[in-house]
Symmetry: C2
Subunit: 207 residues, 2 copies
């Protein structure tokens, strides 16, 4: 077994440590966040920190790195209040990853990567046409994490778009049918295969 | 394409809505959190909201539902300041899921599920012996999410244990070699297969 103590971690080279810490917490969601600036420039950025916050009301969250450098996604969503969350699937993996490159503010990652901006139902932020599961969200709040200056952004879910035939009769969405990917660290992409769904767990029904 | 608007969501039955909203944000990490009470009762609970918060210092976070009912994990980690994060792998999937059953406070989920509590390097919280990737963490802070009363708990990573031969020379951990699972909604378990790692993205190197 390999063991890293806190003092070992403190001595690691920055890139090595970043790879280790980013991958050791488990698989991550893989989503593209779409926004548009007040000048009309679309922005697309890959995020691997989207998490479920609550169902009633329908809320999600994601982590934004400190605002010490330009953050186009944040600036845009604060300006017009809207952003989209688009699942990364196998067929757009390379293009999705490329959105992490540091393009100038006036450059659209849609244009540079070849992904298609799509406006649906008058929503004020662009979806990714090639993504098969997509959400339209409103900005709700931001919480500063004092330990490192990151922000937890809270959004409310106002639109959900799904392909036909991937949702079960109880509401659950079978993500492997959409070839949704999960992430490992900053640069690894994995394709999950569904093993099972398990019944609601009760104390007296397990051996 | 299936479309749910906000007003559609507001009309859905509670269980259906919970299944939909919990699965539509993408794959989730799948971890068991181990704690111990001041009376010495071990506690183990499955969490699917662990996220990376930062590498320097090494921080992770997870979402805790509102404190309107008993939350043993939270009470324990506030009392002694320590908790463990243990990856759920394929061989312990059913036992891990069973920890979500509502056992009484004085009952240990380790005992009920047959998972083995293991203390390593004098750390004051139990690890899961059957889990192959595990972290020892200290409680750092809690942020209340006012939109629904949930808490974002921040922990610092003090120990990392990995199997031999799953870490690359640049620090990155290949999770599929440990058969780590990812979650879909509240009850789905998937086994990811690594597709690739992609190079650091630069604006001028993509066609």
């Amino acid at each position: 077994m390999v063991h890293y103590s806190r003092s070992d971690l403190d001595k690691l080279p920055s890139r090595f440590k970043s790879n280790l810490i980013n991958s050791c917490t488990g698989y991550k969601a893989c989503n593209l966040l779409g926004t548009v600036s007040k000048e009309g420039t679309t922005n697309l950025a890959i995020f691997n920190s989207i998490i479920h916050i609550g169902s009633n009301p329908a809320l999600l969250g994601f982590i934004l790195r400190p605002l010490t450098v330009r953050r186009d996604t944040y600036e845009n969503l604060r300006q017009n209040g809207c952003f989209t969350v688009n699942h990364v699937n196998k067929s757009i993996m390379e293009k999705a990853h490329q959105t992490s490159a540091k393009y100038e503010k006036q450059i659209s990652e849609f244009e540079k990567t070849g992904l298609t901006a799509e406006y649906i139902d008058d929503f004020q932020a662009p979806y990714v046409k090639e993504s098969t599961i997509k959400l339209g969200c409103h900005y709700e709040n931001a919480y500063e994490i004092k330990e490192n200056g990151c922000l937890l952004i809270i959004g409310s879910i106002h639109h959900i778009y799904l392909p036909e035939n991937i949702q079960h009769t109880d509401g659950w969405v079978q993500l492997d049918k959409a070839q949704t990917l999960s992430g490992v660290g900053l640069d690894g992409y994995a394709l999950p295969e569904l093993l099972t769904r398990l019944a609601y767990a009760r104390p007296d029904e397990f051996n």
